[in-house]
Symmetry: C2
Subunit: 598 residues, 2 copies
């Protein structure tokens, strides 16, 4: 199993560890130290050796930070983790702080009215973060200083950094050689009058060099930094042992981590740095050496997001393979759930089993979210032995999961009724489906962003006075991160959608204490086909990647428009056609019924 | 008639006037002079004495400017006016320049590669405009200097400034006294640490002081400037004769225009100035005197946009009155258009006649856009004797018009088939209608902007590969401007929609050389009623103000969803109920048929 169900931390460890940290504060003459959740790469997943926040506080969520002072310690967590934090941290030792509602600067000012010195590790925070915090502290007597990492100093049994092997990513799947990608990105640098770019995101580096790694759970990359020079050369910084068996292009020089600082200082500017993702230390090293900085996006992010035809073809195959596993799973679930003997953990295990049975699974895209009844309304619910719940008749069961395959990354949510659903379940599900269909069917003129489409997914819920408090869609990689930028379908996303971008389409509806509904497919932006009476203007549309039945028992067909019903029936017909040759005989029978027209 | 159909300018006047202007350039040692369309108030409508651009060049469009140099003169016009400018300016004298595609700074640089001095009237340009132009000229040898207005110097028979009487606006209609409004706005100044605000927009001043004027066509305001002090006092600058019969609150001091500069210089800062609308001269006068400036929006704009209950009640009545006139007109049109003897001008005259017959018409909101057949596809078409077209069987006739009444400003577009429409007409019209219904029915959570809703209006057209190149809606005043901010339904509008804001809802579709379709109602933002299974979140929705039938002959009912059909039938039933008591017997018969369910 990739997924585990036991708690990785214990609240009672917090007290002695914080006490040890405070001894270091006193020793260094500091009044506080910041412990972020992030590692040097600011990613969603961190290696065990970088799980400093979890080690110190017990809190294992995917975002947040701790501000440890001599007399108090705040754990700053967002709305998703208000419940989880209470179970994971010792309340006498750490105070949960609602964030971003409470700003760190204000909290520090309140705790240290006469001022003080706060230390931070300049490799774990971005220039943006430190800049904003400095601005917030501008008229106070609180000083921020970059220091050694105090957690690392006291973490006696800290795991060793991961040494996962790096392998080449086949150009047949990538669609472009690394040399082509490097030439493209280098040309962007030249055009912007930049001599080099600092790359600190492992998935940017994996994409650029056509490599994959095994350093992290759920994300097939290697921890590394790199410099991309304007002549398309790359200097890669990592543990060289990881690359032992991999022949790299002579244009790619591999150095150990320890050579990174000196290599930065040997650059001549302007050097491109992404202030939203690169460590603050990168900016200060360059600036202190008088090397000119250009703050701009990591140059790999946009070209990585616009998938090649080969990548789209590859992930299409991955989605059919994953879809077949999902169909086996849903068939199994329909047979076994009504007995009342299954738990959420049983379901998670079974689903991973069906994906493993493809013999192609490299990992899961993220820990499966499997919530029955009221757990379905907890958007980021992750079942443990402690929370595990029996799946009972009358429940809606929400399952959000994905697989990592060499040819693609999947992410799918289906919501299934256990026994006959209520009219209320069906009414809410049908609205969510209408929103999901509206996005699936959308066509729009070139230049619009996810923000411009977001309302289409919500309108059917809005009409009923309902909504959901998360975005409609996030970018997705190809055998890379299940959450990648810059594109999103969200009211905060101004990035124009471009051909080749993969997105999730996942409206939902959550009634606290009762049930949750989400329906999620992955879709890819493509030029829209010309239409007979259409304008001359260029338009884009979505092509669906995910083919798995949407539960017909939860659909009120009378509410659907003719166009919506037509989309659904065509989607189900395509699902049967594409998936039925790939599943067992019994699942094929189930699939035929599950995809019958309504 | 408020509307006229003769050309106000002659192309042949351009040559001698430009020659005279060039003599002034030489006399003052200038290489060029800028002639904007705007007056000191940056409004959409200008008085005859301020129509400098039209007087000099012949071009009468509502936006644009001329850059007159010694050897060439560019008339900068946007996409709406590419055809019109060719008919109005002499091509040997003035060169039309596509704008904003060609930037003024680039054009000047091209014309004056060795540099030069360009004069401008600092009262006719905003600080924003001059700032952007200066930035564009930064690395050139071209200098911008504020000078006397050279056009005014040579315009021998320039009309006198308007002296329209100012009257009080009844508080029963406004819903708030001027004292209340002044106190509210003054509190905003105090909160922002500002001692005073400079008001240069006549409709802001009209709103703030509960007055109306008669200086301009289509906009019932008086030309004036004002200072709002943080103690809620106002100093008003205008021609005092206009106010002869009006008793004003002692907190309002009235001075002549000539006192404005000295009053500015007597302020102590910080002074709030709207850099998007206030003359550049205001900023320089204050800055040169060392008075601190705060650039921020005119403080009246947002509260003016959020109508009081009294204003909404008043404009509701105005819309029923105007709706009755529209119904008489549409009934007349149906009787008379099939004969083939009507022209566009006949239709405009008839429509104004029906509005006048209400005995309440104070003016038209704008020159009626009445385009038949291919003219319907010209979005800002305004018929003249030269362009006037016979209305023929097989045409679609698009009529966009509005009335100014003491209790409200209306703006409505209806598209009518002359004889039996084609299937293509019906298909396109039905899509436009679906978008218009989507906006009418929309509910959304607090905080969203027009940008977030715009796609709802376009989606039905997008699905067919079609779109329209204008916004979906603009703000509208109450017996004020038919185009007011800050709210819009548009992909460029980030202003959150708030309760009380009036907007147009006017999707369209235009096929060049063939036909145009637009359907427009006015709608007002209101808190959405609670719904049984709705979330606790606060939501907003639109209430419709305009009740006039939407042509059933152009609707393909089979394409509408159940919800769309329900909206349409309910809208038509309400239209009959509200309007039938207000129209003639024959119009009532027509109305019953026009509002029958489909």
């Amino acid at each position: 199993m990739f997924q585990t169900f036991t708690a990785a931390t214990r609240p009672e460890d917090g007290l002695p560890r914080l006490a040890a940290l405070r001894r270091e504060l006193v020793r260094d003459g500091l009044d506080g130290f910041l412990i972020p959740r992030a590692d040097r790469h600011q990613g969603e997943y961190v290696a065990d050796c970088d799980a400093r926040l979890a080690w110190l506080t017990g809190f294992t969520g995917s975002a947040g930070f701790c501000a440890a002072l001599r007399d108090r310690a705040g754990v700053f967590i967002d709305g998703r983790y208000r419940v989880q934090v209470k179970a994971q941290v010792s309340p006498d030792v750490f105070t949960p702080v609602p964030w971003p509602e409470t700003k760190l600067a204000d909290w520090l000012q309140d705790a240290l009215p006469h001022g003080g010195i706060i230390g931070f590790d300049a490799w774990l925070h971005t220039a943006d973060e430190i800049g904003k915090l400095r601005a917030g502290l501008e008229h106070t007597k609180i000083t921020l200083i970059a220091t050694e990492n105090l957690v690392d100093r006291i973490w006696a049994d800290r795991p060793a950094p991961p040494q996962g092997k790096i392998t080449a990513y086949p150009v047949e799947l990538a669609g472009k050689t690394s040399a082509e990608k490097r030439a493209d990105c280098a040309a962007r640098l030249t055009k912007a009058d930049q001599r080099a770019a600092v790359l600190t995101l492992p998935d940017s580096i994996a994409w650029l060099l056509n490599i994959r790694g095994t350093d992290l759970p759920s994300l097939p990359v290697a921890q590394a930094f790199a410099l991309l020079h304007d002549d398309a050369r790359v200097t890669l910084f990592t543990d060289r042992a990881k690359l032992a068996e991999l022949p790299l292009d002579p244009q790619i020089e591999v150095l150990d981590w320890s050579a990174f600082d000196a290599a930065l200082l040997a650059l001549s500017g302007p050097v491109r740095v992404d202030r939203k993702t690169a460590p603050y230390a990168v900016s200060t090293l360059l600036a202190d050496a008088g090397i000119k900085l250009h703050y701009a996006d990591d140059p790999c992010i946009l070209p990585k997001a616009c998938k090649t035809e080969a990548e789209i073809a590859a992930t299409t195959v991955a989605h059919l393979r994953d879809g077949a596993a999902m169909v086996e799973f849903l068939c199994w679930l329909d047979e076994n759930a009504p007995s009342g003997s299954l738990t959420e953990i049983d379901v998670v295990r079974a689903l991973e089993g069906f994906r493993r049975a493809t013999n192609a699974l490299r990992g899961i895209s993220f820990d499966t979210i499997c919530g029955t009844g009221p757990h379905g309304a907890i958007v980021h619910y992750r079942v443990t032995e402690d929370t595990n719940r029996q799946i009972a008749t009358g429940d809606l069961l929400l399952v959000d999961s994905g697989g990592q395959y060499i040819d693609g990354t999947t992410d799918i949510t289906r919501t299934v009724p256990i026994g006959p659903p209520s009219d209320d379940h069906r009414a809410c599900f049908t609205r969510v489906l209408q929103g999901m269909i509206a996005i699936s069917r959308a066509r729009w003129p070139l230049g619009l962003a996810g923000r411009d489409l977001d309302a289409l997914a919500r309108m059917p819920l809005w009409q009923a006075g309902q909504d959901y408090d998360h975005g409609t869609g996030h970018g997705v990689g190809v055998f890379l991160s299940v959450h990648e930028g810059p594109q999103r379908i969200s009211r905060v996303s101004d990035t124009p959608l471009e051909s080749g971008m993969i997105l999730s389409n996942e409206p939902g509806y959550y009634r606290e204490g009762a049930f949750g509904i989400r329906i999620e497919n992955l879709i890819v932006v493509q030029p829209a086909p010309d239409l007979p009476q259409g304008d001359a203007r260029k338009m884009l549309s979505f092509v669906t990647l995910t083919y798995v039945p949407i539960d017909r028992r939860l659909i009120d067909a009378m509410v659907l428009s003719a166009a919506e019903r037509e989309w659904l029936n065509a989607y189900h017909a395509a699902t049967f056609e594409k998936i039925s040759p790939r599943v067992s005989a019994s699942a094929r029978v189930w699939l035929a019924a599950a995809t019958a027209p309504i």
